[in-house]
């Protein structure tokens, strides 16, 4: 493939409504997520300083936990900016500001000895959307002042979002191979992990998966399940080769997350609600937009 062909693929044209639809979907999800998690996000004000283990940007900037006011304020600011980002209000300012604030708030939440992996993809998607012309359609900015024509400016951010999704799954697959090798898919590693995870939840007084607890008695089930999840992760780049493969891969990856929910009681909302996979499709064609009167009804 020549550099020109790669450039043509990466910077292929797409309607501004596709990128705008992704802004609305990802921004809407982030807004609801932050609103639902406010209490959780500010719960760290009560944590013992010895539990502080900064990661990412927090590690770069902080050596000790913040006072309570400086924990609460960014959470509230992120919530306000999430609304502005979703509505596409002054996107050139609120887009980057929301990306930075969300990155800070969620990095701080992950800086207490436990790194969760449910928000990584959402944050990177918000960063991409916040730093690209994602409010050139279906936004308050457009109502205020129509944007200048920007040919080939709206396809590559969608490609980049899709590349990020694909890369995260490949990384997860490679992590299994790097840490456990092929034995991850040929031994009892997954079965023991599911038993351990459910037992730990039960003994810690939390909800566990009765299905997972029942299935661990059947050892033969787990190598095929582990192998299938590894294949789905490593074959993620196939989703970039056209809508048909994107559909099949997204369905398989969604089923993988549904399986994790069913047998481990771990909820990954971003992929389970389809948002992780939305950049692989023509998101502007969702019936939701007609219902919201953003796109015209078909005649």
């Amino acid at each position: 493939m020549t550099p020109a062909a790669i450039d043509a693929w990466y910077r292929s044209d797409a309607p501004p409504e596709r990128l705008a639809a992704l802004r609305l979907l990802v921004g809407g999800f982030a807004t609801v997520y932050l609103a639902a998690r406010v209490v959780h996000l500010i719960s760290f004000v009560d944590f013992a300083p010895r539990s502080f283990a900064p990661v990412g940007v927090v590690d770069l900037l902080l050596g000790a936990p913040l006072p309570a006011a400086l924990v609460v304020a960014p959470v509230l600011l992120a919530l306000l900016l999430a609304v502005a980002f979703t509505l596409g209000w002054r996107h050139r300012v609120t887009g980057p500001a929301f990306a930075a604030t969300l990155l800070w708030v969620l990095s701080y939440r992950n800086s207490w000895g436990m790194i969760f992996h449910t928000e990584n993809l959402m944050v990177v998607h918000v960063i991409v959307l916040g730093l690209t012309p994602a409010a050139d359609a279906w936004s308050l900015d457009v109502r205020r002042r129509p944007p200048p024509p920007r040919p080939r400016a709206h396809g590559w951010p969608v490609r980049l979002l899709a590349l990020v999704t694909v890369a995260t799954y490949v990384l997860a697959g490679l992590a299994k191979l790097r840490l456990s090798g092929l034995s991850w898919a040929t031994s009892d590693l997954l079965r023991n992990y599911i038993a351990y995870d459910n037992l730990r939840k039960l003994e810690l007084g939390d909800a566990h998966s009765p299905l997972g607890a029942a299935l661990v008695a059947h050892g033969w089930l787990f190598p095929p399940l582990a192998g299938a999840s590894l294949v789905v992760e490593l074959l993620a780049p196939a989703a970039l080769f056209g809508p048909r493969l994107a559909r099949w891969w997204s369905l398989a990856a969604w089923a993988f997350h549904a399986g994790v929910l069913a047998i481990m009681a771990i909820f990954f909302p971003y992929p389970l609600l389809g948002l992780a996979f939305a950049p692989l499709f023509a998101a502007e064609r969702l019936p939701l937009w007609r219902w919201l009167r953003l796109s015209p009804r078909p005649s």
Partner: protein, 159 residues
Amino acid sequence: MAPEPDRWRAGGPVHAWALGGLVLALVLSPLCRPPGADSFPFSSYPMFAHGRPTAETLVHHLLAVTADGARRPVPPRLVANDEVLQAAETLRKAIRGGKRPSAALCRSVAARLADDPAWSDVVRLELVSERFDAIAYFAGDTAPLAAPRVRARCKVKRP
């Protein structure tokens, strides 16, 4: 074909390749770190990758003990917050820190629990480490593999 925008404009080719290159380099950067290294948001996603070679499982938990000696686990929201993994990490860290942090955590949870009417029958807390066979556990054998190790004990003081 539509004319190419100014190279440096928002959405133009320089923006596209600079941002795309930077974001993808950061997303893929965990491949340059040792296996299992983790960060946020640029992670290698090692959470399930280790698996577990055996079913033997060490659990640290806080048990609420009533006057008649009955025990039940204190839920994550009273230990740390609503995330069970955060609670597990809080308990692990306190135990690793030794007797003083373990006792301090026990007392702080006891103070939270004292205000909660749902826990009015509880007289003391015990921070305990227990080892189980996780496969046998779900086959009905819920007994720990060895005697529980009590790391801290504290009373629930009510006004």
